[in-house]
């Protein structure tokens, strides 16, 4: 239904104006839709994080604004919008102002390639996974810029830690996704979903896929700079880390981007390991619109898992983080890659 609406709008626009104007208008409409989704998802994730954190810690969480606190994050966002934008005198003004946009735009870019349901995908590029990996490493430039230009030693330490961490864990994220690409034989996300019609890849690839998923989750959590890898903004050591000097809306950008990044990491996992919008056992295959529901449901289960990590584990020290990556995750990952290659070669995958 939704899809036919978009088709109708598409045709109507193209009948109304010359072709290139129509396509610009169409792109703008899609961008607005994604931006809205972005803001709503961000606000919802913040609220979810706070409620779930409360439940893990046997507290009650925000429950005053609106029914059971549903409007809490909207109120917070309004407050942040109305706040003054402060800055330090010694900051490098240009980079300082640029940094939040770097972070938030990369987060948005990544959102474009996910197949939320059949045909509901803004940008079905044929190097989808490579694109995602590349985009997710650009985000760290924003963090580095923020820390560098703030001219604050805590920000700088936070930013440098972020650099070290992202560069190391990037490797594990890419390798664990590569393990799965061995099975699909394509980088295009819609094709990857297509392959999973014979069973989700985590089932198809059984043992090596599960190992790859575990490594992906660990490295993905590190990519988003969340606890237990939140050295970047370790409150007890660095104030607020790289965004110490930011206030108001610019701070909100960093904050939102952090949560959207978590959503993105979970979405990649959903797409690559859990069959994106495919319903379990194909129970709702006849209604493609429900694909959005399945996609979001799976994503939020993984987001919940990441929140569970956050409220269970203590923060790692920087040398422990590097040990974990270079001494454990990377070798395991490489061995796993070979195992997966053998599994695919011998045709040991489970197909339904």
């Amino acid at each position: 239904m939704l899809l036919s609406i978009t088709k109708n709008i598409h045709e109507w626009l193209f009948s109304l104006m010359p072709e290139n104007i129509a396509s610009i208008v169409e792109m703008t409409i899609i961008a607005v839709i994604y931006l809205t989704g972005f803001a709503v998802a961000g606000l919802f994730l913040v609220l979810m994080e706070r409620r779930i954190a409360a439940w893990f810690q046997l507290r009650r969480g925000p429950n005053r604004v609106g029914f059971h606190g549903i409007l809490q994050t909207i109120a917070d966002a309004l407050k942040l919008v109305s706040k003054e934008l402060t800055g330090t005198i010694k900051a490098d003004k240009f980079l300082y102002n640029l940094a939040p946009y770097f972070v938030i735009i990369t987060a948005l870019l990544a959102l474009a390639v996910f197949p939320f349901t059949k045909d509901f995908q803004a940008f079905d590029i044929n190097i989808g996974i490579l694109f995602l990996i590349a985009i997710s490493s650009i985000g760290v430039i924003g963090i580095l810029l923020a820390g560098w230009s703030s001219n604050n030693k805590f920000s700088l330490i936070g930013a440098m830690r972020s650099g070290v961490q992202t560069i190391s864990y990037e490797l594990s994220v890419s390798l664990s996704l590569l393990t799965i690409v061995l099975m699909t034989g394509t980088l295009q996300l819609s094709e990857i979903v297509e392959v999973q019609k014979n069973g989700w890849l985590i089932v198809q690839g059984h043992v090596p896929a599960v190992i790859a998923f575990m490594i992906y989750m660990i490295a993905g959590t590190a990519e988003t700079n969340r606890t237990p890898f939140d050295l970047v903004e370790a409150e007890s050591e660095l104030g607020a880390g790289f965004h110490t000097e930011y206030s108001g809306m610019k701070f909100a950008y960093f904050f939102l981007a952090e949560f959207i990044n978590m959503f993105i990491i979970a979405s990649i996992a959903t797409t690559v390991f859990f069959g994106a919008w495919l319903s379990p056992f194909g129970i709702t295959e006849s209604i493609p619109l429900l694909g959005i529901f399945w996609f979001l449901a799976k994503t939020f289960v993984i987001v919940f898992l990441m929140m569970w990590f956050r409220w269970s584990f203590p923060r790692l020290r920087i040398d422990q983080i590097l040990t974990l990556e270079w001494k454990y995750l990377l070798p395991i990952n490489l061995v796993n890659l070979v195992v997966m290659a053998i599994v695919v070669w011998l045709g040991l995958t489970i197909q339904f």
Partner: protein, 171 residues
């Protein structure tokens, strides 16, 4: 051959490290997971101020220093100033003078005002420990917000109150 044994042992350590790591992470997650499932029953925070009527602070809570008075408006403070000396912050000030004791007919040190400045108190409890007659103790009140700092200065002995009989004899 010793080096071989060592390296094998180290290799074993590598894998047992991974095993131990995963095991301990799962243990941690199962504990927080249990909390998560029981948050309704086990919630350790309370809905304040809705529960104001029924809210009872626990005994150990240090809200403010109070001086209990009995039904005859009598307290146990002799004006010995031990609390004033014990306080590291100069929170307590005892104003006393020599008044005529009705019973013995002699002049004697008596408390006029026991001034306690809540705003300066760090709740260390040294005054309460120092008091030889247990005249002051912890109160459980925690709603101390006022519009001006001067309202935080309190006189602990009520107007017209007297020293309880027999407090001094006990020593």
């Amino acid at each position: 051959m010793a080096w071989l044994n060592n390296s094998i042992l180290e290799d074993m350590g590598y894998f047992s490290d991974i095993y131990q790591g995963i095991k301990s992470l799962l243990t941690g997650m199962s504990i927080t997971g249990k909390y998560f499932l029981n948050f309704r029953k086990g919630s350790i925070t309370q809905q304040y101020p809705e529960n104001r009527e029924t809210l009872k602070m626990f005994e150990r809570f240090r809200g403010e220093v109070i001086m209990p008075h009995d039904e005859n408006n009598e307290h146990r403070c002799t004006g010995c100033q031990a609390c004033e000396i014990a306080c590291p912050n100069g929170t307590i000030e005892i104003i006393w003078d020599r008044q005529l004791d009705e019973e013995s007919g002699k002049k004697k040190k008596m408390i006029d005002k026991h001034i306690y400045r809540l705003g300066m108190c760090t709740m260390c409890g040294l005054c309460i420990e120092a008091c030889p007659t247990d005249a002051i103790k912890w109160g459980q009140n925690f709603e101390n917000s006022v519009y001006d700092r001067k309202y935080l200065d309190r006189i602990l002995n009520k107007p017209g109150s007297k020293l309880m009989k027999g407090v001094e004899d006990k020593e």
